[in-house]
């Protein structure tokens, strides 16, 4: 049968829910969560430590990062490189990061080697060697990494936008892994004491997803059950506020493009407007034919992509239009972006809300179809102190968003006369025109 001219009907998607993990608390306070997913032969494991970066002493910021990076350089049971060999021999890969609201170790391993992998994971958090020369080397490597980050236009704009939106008294205003000055000051003792104080079972959550055998909690109890917390207490999380708006032009002489961020301080998942902002963000700068991408890419050809990005932190967040534009069109692109973000005379429509809601609900089954997708999602929530039930509750909330509530959330978060702008590009070519267009830019090296 030939039906090529007739657009097919779409059947409504099945109802889908984020899986509810099985939970157990060990006697030492460590929380375990497991999600069994049939057919997922690679297990995804995440260990989250409730160790906020504002716990770092201010003169050695980056110590959480150095501590995390030194962990797998050798353990009591597997000294030096023999640890990495033991891990790689079973096909496992271990990653990690120290984020603003907690440190994380993530492990992927074929499910039939999961038990052994959990034992190795316990070694790195409980009895890492943390030798002085490991600290020394990772300090050097981090200093090299800072040079690379600052040389990259996109990274630079992210760093500067963070600093422009968050007052400097908050740790969240600065680089996650520390600066040249603070990293240079980190000593072996700093790393040892950070590890001793913040790697502890009563601040730890272990998440395991994959095709499970049912033995995982027993294996975890064997590996972590007799881990003890130190007496020293806990550091509470900072609650950053926002700065007054700034316009910064970061000079990158001769750059063929400029990286742009336009927006401000935002909200976290606990804010009642969270679902509204998600829907609005999709309509304005998430979908392919969102307002920003439609005009700046598909109509003007100014950029490979213009997006509105909404990034929650544990407390507060950042929201900004992001894009890279060839230098000569930056002023026009910014004027257009400012107008597109001003919803006063062009509120979000019902059609936009419907598309955004369907998109958000529809992509979830794919995003969470793998062990890694599930573990990553739970880990992000745990790190930010949010219950796993949030995922399904948020789906419900998304369904209740109206054009008015979505519009209102953007008017509040992105007031047209109160936007923060960061442009990383060739200042000599951009400065005068940006001033003429009403952006009171301050040129910074």
């Amino acid at each position: 049968m030939r039906r090529s001219d007739q657009r097919p009907e779409v059947k409504a998607p099945q109802r889908w829910r984020f899986p509810d993990p099985t939970r157990l608390w060990l006697d030492n306070g460590m929380q375990l969560m497991a999600c069994d997913r049939e057919g997922q032969h690679v297990a995804a494991v995440s260990l989250i430590l409730d160790a906020p970066l504002n716990a770092e002493p201010v003169d050695v910021e980056g110590v959480a990062t150095i501590a995390q990076r030194c962990l797998d350089e050798g353990t009591a049971a597997h000294p030096g490189p023999s640890f990495a060999e033991a891990l790689e021999d079973i096909g496992a890969v271990l990653g990690g990061s120290a984020g603003y609201s907690g440190s994380e170790l993530s492990l992927e391993v074929p499910t039939d080697r999961l038990g052994e992998a959990l034992g190795l994971l316990a070694e790195v958090v409980r009895e890492p060697e943390l030798r002085p020369d490991d600290v020394d080397r990772h300090r050097t490597l981090r200093l090299a990494e800072i040079e690379h980050l600052l040389a990259n236009s996109a990274h630079r704009s992210a760093l500067e936008f963070r600093a422009a939106c968050i007052p400097s008294r908050y740790r969240a205003s600065r680089m996650v892994g520390g600066s040249q000055a603070t990293v240079s000051a980190i000593t072996h003792d700093d790393v040892l004491s950070f590890h001793e104080r913040y790697y502890r079972p009563d601040a730890a959550t272990l998440i395991i997803s994959g095709e499970l055998s049912g033995q995982e909690f027993a294996q975890a109890a064997t590996a972590f059950g007799d881990w003890e917390s130190p007496a020293e207490g806990y550091t509470s999380h900072e609650v950053p506020g926002s700065r007054t708006p700034h316009c910064w032009l970061i000079d990158r002489p001769g750059a063929v493009q400029a990286d742009v961020r336009l927006g401000g301080f935002g909200i976290d998942r606990g804010d009642p407007r969270w679902a509204d902002v998600q829907v609005a963000t999709h309509a304005l700068g998430g979908a392919f034919l969102s307002r920003l991408n439609r005009v700046l890419r598909e109509e003007k050809g100014f950029t490979y992509g213009a997006h509105l990005v909404n990034t929650p932190m544990r407390e507060g967040g950042l929201i900004s239009m992001q894009g890279s534009f060839r230098t000569e069109v930056v002023p026009e692109a910014l004027t257009l972006a400012r107008d597109l973000l001003d919803l006063t005379s062009a509120p979000i429509t019902q059609a936009e809300v419907t598309d955004a809601v369907n998109y958000t609900k529809g992509v979830a089954p794919l995003r969470y179809s793998t062990a890694q997708g599930i573990t990553d999602r739970i880990a992000a929530l745990v790190r930010d102190g949010v219950n796993v039930e949030f995922v399904n509750a948020n789906f419900e909330a998304i369904g209740l968003v109206t054009p008015e509530s979505a519009t209102q959330s953007i008017m509040e978060l992105l007031p047209p006369d109160g936007l923060t702008l960061v442009v990383v590009g060739d200042a000599a070519s951009l400065h005068d025109q940006l001033l003429a267009d009403g952006w009171l830019v301050e040129v910074r090296a």
């Binding site: 490189p81 990495a84 079973i90 080397r137 090299a144 040079e147 979908a287 034919l289």
Partner: protein
């Protein structure tokens, strides 16, 4: 041999030559649709560098029943993840969506395959030319070391070889693309017999074939293009070097080789060997250059699989800021030479295989990447079921085979070398 994979594979070829492969999986109510067109940057002639990729963009600019951008937007609005990529050996278009939207996705894919060239216009070609040029600036020109790949493939293959330029192409050639040029490019390459449609997901094989026939079966047939047999290039003779001075945060050196075509034992052996050399914390280069001698900020090694006779392997070494790269370079060459002379140890080989297995299983874990692998093996080898057997192929490689491949293909004396030197003024200042 722990992993005996048995993802179901059902195949059929429609009357017009379109190959359809279906792999049912009812674990999630989704379907992944993937179309591999057997056209990539290797099919571009001089003056057309970047056209395959530009064309990929134009495939979203509207066809008989679908407006500009609507393909992406309409499927996103149904909860679909939609995209396309261009590479040396292929252009692939794919969407993963709730299974109730599968018909619409197939209909839209068929609509653009059937009617796209009649709907190209100057405005959309001009806009997408600019978008692609912005993509080039953002991903290559404005990024430290961003031009490494174009430089390296030119050194390894020579500028006239089909693999001697990368998919992003050149600004001049992108500027030279016209509606007529795009339409001709389309008619030469976008045909049912030059494509593989893969569907993975919550659907039976019978049902999927029926839908493929319904939406694609009426498209006119062609005669399947037979590519001339690929010619393998001999390894490079001697060392070809090039030096680039630019605004990079540290000096860096890349070493590159010609490797055997993809999915041969020789290529797989080289891939494992490169993993031993630079593929992780236990790798020889990391241990020696980063950990012991502390002369490098980072190392890497990878094999890039290509079907057209010859693949590509690369090792990179980045100096510490403010230091020259000579010590790292000398140490790297010692390690490369050692591996070429004697191959890896059994423990290293087993480790590389274990890592390969995890990566392979991870690729197959998602509907979308599984569909893409199946499409690749159907297009390039006419053997989609090989996704189930690949792990065994790699597992069977012996220490002697890997040592033989190292000595045949990874000799330091048969390399191309690209050196980045820092400009006097640091870009970060």
């Amino acid at each position: 041999m722990p992993y005996r994979l048995n993802y179901p594979i059902h195949q059929r070829t429609l009357g017009n030559g379109l190959r359809v492969v279906v792999s049912p999986d009812h674990s999630v109510p989704l379907a992944a649709v993937n179309l591999w067109y057997d056209v990539g940057s290797r099919d571009e002639r001089p003056g057309e560098f970047g056209w395959a990729h530009l064309f990929e963009h134009l495939m979203f600019s509207g066809s008989a029943h679908v407006g500009s951008g609507e393909h992406l937007n309409a499927l996103q609005a149904l909860g679909g993840s939609v995209n396309a990529t261009t590479w040396f050996d292929r252009t692939n278009y794919f969407e993963t969506l709730p299974v109730g939207a599968l018909d619409l996705a197939l209909w839209m894919e068929a609509d653009r395959l059937a009617t796209l060239p009649d709907h190209l216009d100057d405005a959309s070609v001009e806009t997408q030319r600019e978008v692609v040029k912005e993509e080039k600036r953002q991903r290559y020109d404005n990024v430290p070391y961003g031009d490494a790949m174009p430089q390296l493939v030119e050194l390894v293959f020579g500028p006239d070889h089909p693999y001697g330029h990368t998919t992003i192409g050149s600004m001049a050639d992108i500027d030279g693309a016209t509606v007529e040029g795009a339409a001709t490019f389309f008619r030469n390459h976008y045909r049912p017999d030059n494509a593989v449609l893969t569907i993975v997901g919550d659907i039976t094989a019978k049902d999927a074939f029926k839908r493929a026939e319904r939406y694609f079966g009426h498209l006119p047939s062609w005669n399947r293009r037979v590519r001339p047999a690929a010619v393998a290039l001999a390894p490079l003779t001697g060392v070809t070097t090039r030096e680039v001075t630019g605004r990079v945060p540290a000096a860096a050196t890349y070493y590159a080789w010609r490797l055997p075509a993809r999915d041969t034992w020789g290529f797989d052996a080289c891939e494992l060997a490169l993993s031993v050399l630079g593929g992780g914390q236990t790798s020889r280069l990391h241990r020696e250059l980063v950990r012991s001698q502390r002369v490098a900020a980072g190392v890497g090694a990878s094999a890039m699989p290509l079907i057209g006779g010859t693949s590509f392997g690369v090792v990179n070494v980045r100096a510490l800021p403010g230091q020259d790269i000579d010590a790292a370079h000398r140490a790297a060459l010692v390690q490369i030479e050692r591996l070429a002379d004697a191959g890896p140890t059994q423990a290293e080989l087993d480790r590389a295989k274990a890592q390969f297995a995890r990566e392979w299983l991870t690729e197959l874990a998602r509907f979308d990447s599984r569909a893409d692998l199946i499409g690749a093996y159907a297009t390039l080898h006419d053997d989609p079921d090989r996704v189930n057997r690949k792990l065994e192929e790699v597992e069977r490689l012996t220490l002697d085979q890997v040592a033989e491949a190292c000595s045949a293909f990874l000799e330091p004396g048969q390399r191309a070398q690209l050196d980045y030197r820092q400009e006097a003024v640091d870009a970060a200042q």
